[in-house]
Every structure is written in structure tokens, then in C-alpha cells.
Symmetry: C2
Subunit: 417 residues, 2 copies
């Protein structure tokens, strides 16, 4: 959705559809993007940009149409299978479709440990020598150096913090003892184990912070500081599974829900833009945008034409030219996971439908986020005219998915299949 | 493959993936083409042609990205769900995405009849008033009239003869009594029943023949005869199921296999081109081509640029300029049905692999079609160097499918899913 400028009711990929298994032998990636799909890298490439992706890609292995090198990226390094990204000490990553060996031993990351017999050595078995995040930074620095003379677009989907907890020891050490009540995690909620889950999670964020710093320093050293736009965001809210303890850290604050929810806890994420030449340092905005606005925003920055998409340019807001900011009536969300969910943000109003797959008539909940950020008071019965509007929006915005697994609003499956 | 110029190892759609059920309420079509897929209608539309499809479409309902009106067709009439095309007396067809009611009563076409209690009235229940094929011709005549002044491309995938046996009575009547041993068909091999299956099948072919005549007459009347190219072909060989009796009619002659096989009986089809201004009447050619050659051929006729595809232009052959005919080393076939099949035609050589889904090492059969059209003598052991070549071709031509259901050559599925 970020790359194609489409919301969840239009986008081709609407979830993880796995094409293989967890092992290196069965690594198959996810359902690939077909050829012909328009995307930010294709758009920027045609505008003369060198394009790179370094990090996690879940839109098809190199032996499919989803190969990032076929989808607009001149350079691609990292995971091509999101399942392999469950382990940050993988045996290999992929560089332009070629296997790139890392100095790590293969191990099954999803094993649980028995808390009654576990030893420190058991936890050590979930660690390796070469950390994926470090490799990403190395390759990113190289990409910056090699392309400093050209216009370039570097997309850096680091995999952390994510559901699994792994980071080089020194990032863990600095936090051990600082989190009262910290107990080992034995893998009972999936993903890898961790002797110090709270310290590791904190260490991962510190690691990521450090990488961003290293990259920004490099941009400065190359003399590209003033004219380089750095955008930072997250793909969803804090998670509920693996060793992550969202409650302990109060990660979602007063927001309802976590990752995989269309409640605010699942979809409200930080968004930071740095562009020294054009954006005043430290300024903030309450303007509501979504990641699928990026295609239109980049288009606007470049003054080029783009293909039809679901976003709007937020450049006027970034430049504090608020009088020029195009307003939208609503933002539409759709997500096939957790039984099928729909959400609409319209001004201060937020509508949410859950369990739509099972219940075609699953009712709208209606919240007023202005005085109820936590989505605790359902006002649907008081505003039937808004609900009517939401129904019309859903009808307008929903296009049937190309596979039954993701189609929950207009599901016509019967005994066939 | 015809429309996108891709062979089965590259094409996005590689089989029927059903999105709904048989009834009008659950009509959901097949997996839709995504937006952005390049196709013959898109190519011709951009070259200034009015484009129409009248007949059967199995690449997505109107409420998906596969909507023919979104896939390059200015005008679309007919079935949008191949399952509904099992009945040629449907309750409705679709005209540019709008429901078009036909004067027929709804009935379940796949019912069987009990041969011990059946009456003539039972067979009559599989008949209706308005025949889809007649509607196609009506709409095609209208399309020709309305677009006679423009360059136009009309794609006419009539649904007959197909697996179901239905045609207006007068076409059946002329054959009753002419097929010794004709017995009623009670639906035991699927599809609808028929009191006179042999006469009905013959009648369907006569009907189709008549429609082609009507259309050619109209082209002549409009003064477009000399400059209109009419191409006629079939999408596969005779079928094995429903009430069709391929053996009785010797439909596949000495060829091995039927529909759904990559043996010659499944893939060798008639191809007739009529272009009075340019092609000498009655001329024939032994040049081997495939339907995915049409994109390149049309491109060549128009002298325009096209996107990368798997075909070659056969225009030189059509024009009898054989010295200009580009030769190809091989034609590659891949088909996920019947356990996964691969075939390669290379000169007189034909390689076939079957049951590849179950057996990754399923061996190549090798036939020399020059003296063994029937693919009866497997010469694989005698020509290891050809087998080696076939393996290399398969490796080169296969791109993983976007869904596991169609991926049988490089299947990496494990316990996940």
C-alpha cells in the first residue's frame, strides 16, 4: 500500500500469502506482485532516480514476477521472504536476486524452551554472528556513496523492532537490570526465545536509533544534507505476540488494539520528515495522512505525472503552506486479518467493523476521536446518518480481491473449490 | 495467454481459480487479471482501435480489477463467469458490467437424471428461450454497424462447442436419426443432460458455423470485406467430460490425449485466417504457431511497438513471405492441471512431462512428431542430449506462479498454510 499508493480495498496484496516454508530449502516468499503494477520505485526510476531497497521485502522471491529488481528497484538487498525475517541472524540474505551468505549457523527460530530445564546456553543458540540490521546499514552506506552524484531513492525497511527479539549483546547489556520484574521468554507466544526480553526489545530500538544516526551522518558527510528528504515511519502499532511486552512498555498508551487491529492502536504510527532546506526543525502537524499518500506526495515534490492512486499529496503540510493542502473527506481502511475488518476515518469520526467474514451484517462501531482517542464509546446508534455514509463509502471503495483468502466483504464462495 | 502473449510458464492466469459458486447469487467469476497487465485489447486501444469482447470472459467479474472494461475493452458483452457459461440458456449476461436479463428460467444445469424413470419432459427442463450464442451474434452485428467507420477489434469467444450440450431445437432436429446408436445422456459425466447428445453436438457446430457466416456476410455488406482480418481458432482439443463423445466422432483422430492434456490431442487446434486483400484463398501452411503469437502478429500488421512477450509475428507466413518468417527454437507449454504438465515442441521433437506436482523428477517423454503424430513411441532414452536441452529450456522459461495452486515445478510448500 505504501509502494503502490493503494488502500486495502484496492491493493493487489492485502496480507501475507505464504508460498513456501520456514527452512532455507523451502524458502518461497509471499504472493508476488504481478508485472505491470505501478509503484513508487517505478515512478521514481522513470523520473531519473537510482532506486534501492535494503531490508525486508514480502512481495515475491527473485524467481517470480515480484522480484524487486523487476518491480522498479535498481538495487535490492535483504530478506525476500518475510518468514526468514523472523530470524535476524539468518544464514543468508539476497543481493539483486543472488544468495549472499552470512556468517551464521542455521537454527530453527520458532522452538520453545522448557522453563524448568532451560540453561543460559539454550538461549545462546538463538544468536548468531552477523546481524541483518548491521548488514542493511553497511549496504545502505555503500548505496549512498555510490549514488551520491545521482538523484536517488533509498527505501530502508529495517525489520526491527519486530515480533522476534534478537540484537547483538552490547545493545542488550546496557538495559539489563533496568526493567524491574524482567523474566526470560521461553517462546510460548511464538517466535524466538530471549533471556532478557525487555532489555532486548529496548536494545533493538536503540540499535535502530543508532543506525538512523549513522545514515544521517553519512548523508551529511556527502554534502547531501540540505537537499535530502528523510522520512521515518512504522508499518503498524505494537504487537501482541512473540516476546514483545506491549503492556509493560505501555507501547499503545491509551489507544485501543495492537498490530492487526484497525483500531487506533494498530494503525496510528509515528511519521517524521526531515528536509532541512524546506521544513522547519521541530515543527509538528495534526494533519491526518496515511502511507499510501507517499506516491502523490513524491509526485508533487518532483512536479511529475503519476498514475491513479488513493493518496493525496501532503507536501503543502510539510512546507507549512496549509492553505494549499488538499483536504479529503475520509480515509478508508480494509484488512482481511482477524476475521475481516473495515475502518473509516472521517474528520473526528472513526467507524470500525470487525468479524465481517463471519457476519456480513457486522455493525459499524462509531467513535469520536476528538474526545475519545481510546475508542471506548460506541455512538453508532446516535448517528444513523454517518453510518449510512460509511456504508456508501465502503461500497464505493471496495474492489473485490483476486483471491478468496482476502475477499471478506463480497465473499461468494460456495461448495466449489 | 492469447490476450497477454505469454506462455503458461509466464502467464499470470494459468487455470480456473474459482471465486464463487454456480448460482446467480454466488456468481463470483474467476481470479481476475490485476491492473497493469498488458494485453492485445490495451495495445490495440492505444493504437486507435475500438475494442470489443462478446462471448465468454473468465478473467474477473466487473467488481474486480479483471473487469473487461478495465482491461482494454471499450465494449464487453457476455458471460463474466465461466461457470455460468456451463448453461447456454442463462438468466442473464453482462453488458459493460450491467446485468442484462435474458428470457430464461433459472435451473441447475448440473443435475443428473435417473435413466430408469426419465421422461422427455425432464430433458426439456434443460432448455430455455434465449440462447447465449444468438445474443452474441446480435450484439456482434450491432458492434460492427456502430464501429464500421473506425478501426475495430472484435474478440468473439463463442462458448460452443463446449462440454455442455444445448442448442435451439431446430439445429438438433436436422441430425436426429443420422447417428446410429445415439442414446440419451443422463448427466453421469457432469454438465447438463441431453436427449440427443450426438445430434446436439453436431447441431452446436452447425449453429456456430451459421453465426460465422452471418458475421462474414455483415462484414461484406458494410464494405469492410477486403480490409478486415478474420481469425478463427479453438482454445483446446475435444473434451473428455460432459455429454461430448469425442470417440464416436473421432474428434482427435490419431492424436494422443484430449482437452487438458499437453499431448497433441489437447493442444493442436485449427487456425484459419481470412484476409482477402492479402492472403490467397485456400492456401495452407505447416508453420507451427501458438495463440500467444497473436500479440506480436498484430503488432507487426500495425507496425507499432509492443511490450515484451513470448510470441513471434507470423505475418510473413500469412503473407507467404516465408524468407522473412522469424524462426523459433522451441515452443514452451506448461499446464498445472492433471497433476502438472510441461511440454516443449522443438522442430519435429516433442517433449512431455506429466504428474510433475507429485514427482519432481517425473521423466521427459520424447516423441518425433514427423513420423509419430500420435506420440506413441517414447525415444527419451535414445537422445539424452535433447532431454538435457529440454531441462535447460524449462529452467529458463519457468517463472514461479503467484499462487501455490498453480506452482508445481518449484513448489516449496511445507507445513505453513
Amino acid at each position: 500500500m505504501l509502494l503502490t499508493g493503494k488502500h486495502g480495498g484496492h491493493s493487489y496484496i492485502r496480507g501475507n500469502y505464504e508460498m513456501g516454508g520456514f527452512t532455507d530449502e523451502t524458502e518461497g516468499g509471499q504472493m508476488p506482485l504481478p508485472e505491470g503494477i505501478y509503484s513508487i520505485p517505478k515512478m521514481l526510476k522513470s523520473a531519473g532516480y537510482k532506486t534501492g531497497i535494503i531490508g525486508k521485502w514480502g512481495l515475491g522471491m527473485h524467481f517470480t514476477s515480484g522480484n524487486p529488481n523487476l518491480q522498479g528497484f535498481d538495487y535490492a538487498y535483504g530478506y525476500l521472504d518475510q518468514k526468514q525475517a523472523h530470524n535476524y541472524f539468518p544464514t543468508h540474505l539476497w543481493e539483486n536476486g543472488k544468495w549472499h551468505t552470512l556468517n551464521n549457523t542455521s537454527f530453527a527460530v520458532h522452538r520453545k524452551l522448557d522453563s524448568t530445564t532451560v540453561t543460559v546456553a539454550d538461549f545462546e543458540k538463538f544468536k548468531g554472528n552477523e546481524y541483518a540490521g548491521t548488514k542493511f546499514t553497511d549496504k545502505a552506506l555503500k548505496f549512498l556513496e555510490e549514488n551520491q552524484a545521482d538523484p536517488f531513492f533509498l527505501y530502508l525497511p529495517y525489520t526491527i523492532p519486530h515480533v522476534g527479539l534478537q540484537v547483538p549483546d552490547k545493545y542488550i547489556q546496557q538495559y539489563i537490570g533496568k526493567f524491574p520484574g524482567e523474566k526470560p521468554y521461553y517462546g510460548q507466544s511464538g517466535y524466538n526465545t530471549s533471556q532478557y526480553p525487555l532489555s532486548t526489545y529496548a536494545g533493538m530500538i536503540s540499535f535502530l536509533d543508532e543506525q538512523v544516526g549513522i545514515l544521517m551522518q553519512k548523508v551529511k558527510e556527502l554534502g547531501l544534507d540540505e537537499n535530502t528528504i528523510i522520512l521515518f515511519s512504522s508499518d503498524n502499532g505494537a504487537t501482541f505476540n512473540g516476546g514483545v511486552q506491549a503492556k509493560y512498555f505501555n507501547s499503545a498508551a491509551d489507544l485501543r488494539g495492537l498490530k492487526m487491529d484497525v483500531f487506533e492502536g494498530g494503525i496510528r504510527v509515528p511519521f517524521i520528515v526531515r528536509w532541512p532546506k524546506m521544513i522547519k526543525s521541530g515543527s509538528t502537524s495534526d494533519f491526518i495522512s496515511v502511507q499510501f499518500d507517499m506516491m502523490e506526495t513524491f509526485t508533487d515534490i518532483l512536479g511529475i505525472e503519476t498514475q491513479k492512486n488513493d493518496g493525496i499529496s501532503i507536501l503543502p503540510t510539510l512546507l507549512n503552506q496549509l492553505q494549499n493542502q488538499k483536504q479529503r473527506e475520509y480515509i478508508y481502511f480494509e484488512y482481511p486479518e482477524k476475521g475481516g475488518q473495515v475502518a473509516i476515518r472521517m474528520g473526528d469520526w472513526k467507524g470500525v467493523r470487525v468479524n465481517v467474514r463471519k457476519d456480513k451484517n457486522s455493525p459499524w462501531m462509531l467513535f469520536n476521536l476528538k474526545d475519545d482517542r481510546g475508542e471506548t464509546r460506541d455512538l453508532a446508534k446516535l448517528y444513523p446518518e454517518i453510518i449510512e455514509k460509511f456504508n456508501a463509502i465502503q461500497l464505493k471503495e471496495h474492489q473485490n480481491s483476486h483471491i478468496t483468502e482476502w475477499e471478506f466483504l463480497n465473499n461468494k464462495s460456495s461448495t466449489i473449490k
